[in-house]
Symmetry: C2
Subunit: 326 residues, 2 copies
């Protein structure tokens, strides 16, 4: 006989309430311990309803990604073909960096159900609860010199934005260089980590975090005005499998276009999706605060900004609208 656990009891209940007292007896633990186990299952993505005097009832299980479901749908040459799913990891970035150093091929993809130390830009923490989002990292080995990496940062933003738009019909704006926003609130963060030797790129690890099916309660209070999920925006649970497939396909397509035709077509797409251009903007840069109106991207992916005196200045590194220390 398999071990009796809270989950096995709830599953045996088949959607009916099971009293806390009964669970407590069966597991031989206190009522408080039962409550703690319930919270733990919820953190893993189980939906459990608690009603006083009735008890607990299982409403939904976490949707797990599976290779069986993902691989047959993936219509790509390289992207996602070498695929690893993991339950919990500090950060998918570190997983792929390790694989990159060991010689894994371009297109290698690691997806985690949950990240415990997800990172955003500037070392900011990135909320990555279990089963509700897409937390993944993709390995690229583009045969381009290191000074072109900022172009790939912008390419990644266009690829994700197009993939999400197609699946959800949401109107997604790109904030320079690569934040994806809907109605001013962030739905996705992208972080490219690059390793280079002299002028040669060794590899790029593209970290992607997408708030797919997170509920309001999954975001910290202070993020409520700044971040939102696709589910909150559309009122529907989005298939993570479909979205991952769509991202891989769109990303590979744009990447091939870039290797064939260079940055020009990517730049045009980025500019079309941008919410940064032609808006008065304040940038926090390593050289200090800069205010002006971004007008276009330059050849390298820098932001060409019209200053108040009418002159132009190109910014390659900086944060829009908030201090990097925030």
């Amino acid at each position: 006989m398999s071990e009796v656990t809270l989950l096995s009891l709830l599953e045996a209940g088949e959607g009916q309430y099971i009293s806390g007292e009964m669970i407590s007896k069966q597991l031989n633990v206190s009522r408080t311990a039962v409550w703690k186990q319930v919270r733990k299952l919820e953190a893993e993505g189980y939906q459990i309803e608690a009603v006083s005097r009735l008890g607990y009832r299982l409403m939904g299980k976490p949707s797990r990604l599976s290779l069986h479901e993902l691989l047959p749908k993936l219509n790509t040459k390289k992207f996602g073909r070498n695929l690893r799913l993991i339950d919990v990891t500090p950060s998918t970035q570190d997983e792929v960096k390790k694989l990159a150093e060991q010689g894994s091929p371009e297109g290698t993809l690691v997806i985690a159900e949950q990240q415990t130390s997800g990172r955003g830009r500037m070392g900011r923490a990135w909320v990555s609860p279990a089963g509700k989002g897409i937390w993944m990292s993709l390995l690229l080995r583009p045969p381009v010199p290191v000074h072109q990496t900022p172009q790939l940062t912008l390419l990644a933003a266009v690829a994700l934005s197009r993939a999400i738009s197609k699946l959800t019909s949401l109107d997604i704006g790109i904030k320079w260089p690569n934040d994806l926003l809907v109605d001013g609130r962030k739905i996705s963060g992208i972080l490219l980590e690059t390793a280079a030797e002299d002028e040669r790129l060794k590899y790029i690890v593209v970290g992607m975090g997408i708030s797919v099916n997170l509920d309001k309660a999954d975001f910290k209070e202070e993020l409520h005005s700044k971040a939102i999920s696709l589910k909150m925006l559309t009122g529907q649970t989005i298939s993570r499998t479909e979205l991952i497939v769509s991202i891989m396909e769109n990303f590979e397509q744009l990447y091939e276009l870039y290797l064939e035709q260079g940055f020009a077509p990517i730049r045009a797409l980025w500019e079309a999706h941008s919410i940064t251009l032609n808006q008065h903007t304040t940038l926090y840069t390593p050289q200090g605060l800069i205010s002006g109106i971004p007008r276009s991207l330059d050849n390298l992916g820098g932001l060409s900004i019209e200053l108040e005196d009418g002159s132009f200045r190109t910014i390659y590194s900086g944060e829009i609208g908030m201090s990097p220390l925030q």
Copy 2:
């Protein structure tokens, strides 16, 4: 009483010959084993003369670098101030990368007496025998965007070339991007490894290998026409301490100039030291073979090449004169 070793016997001899037979008896090993131990000591930098019928004699000990000697001579603000000397390591690059990830400050320097897996460009092995060269890595955290890293590759070449010239009066030529040559033979290799997040540089580890006091026998046969040491060129043993100090000072000075005034003065210095410009050249690039006459550096550090039809093409990544597979 301390253990009797080959070294203690040779040292007790105070420059006099000690017969192989006596050593063999004292150590209770075969004559062949004695010979193997002699070779091992030589590999560590000991100079041992072997004369048949007379025996072995200690002619010189490896000159060890010491913090006591180095630090008081170092007239820098940051470069080399956080200094670590180690005896043997696979690669000083990996040591400094670890320190960089742990937050070590700019200017951190790791010097090894010996590297067991020294790396050059394109993953080539780099000969780094004990005590005879300078094998070191310097940590930089320049507040510049990632597309400017090739400029720092060129800056490093200028810094080393100036430091070595000052100390040895040798006429050093820079082969694009950063090999240092005297009379067509390589005396130093530089390898910059860069880590970036999006458009922001996280850090650069500048690996420097300088063949200071290597003898001809230290180079493999196939390198004799390609590589040479400062000692072989000047006929003199060069103080590694003086050279390290000179490199740190020259490097910091140029680096400060670069941060203040940008790439223009560095470019001018590089062009003045270059042996690549205005010579017919074949480059192996990721896009294939390119032949022409390099005429200048562009703003980013790329090589502007005049092709046979008179048109110009700028190359950012490639190897001059030999296949990257060699």
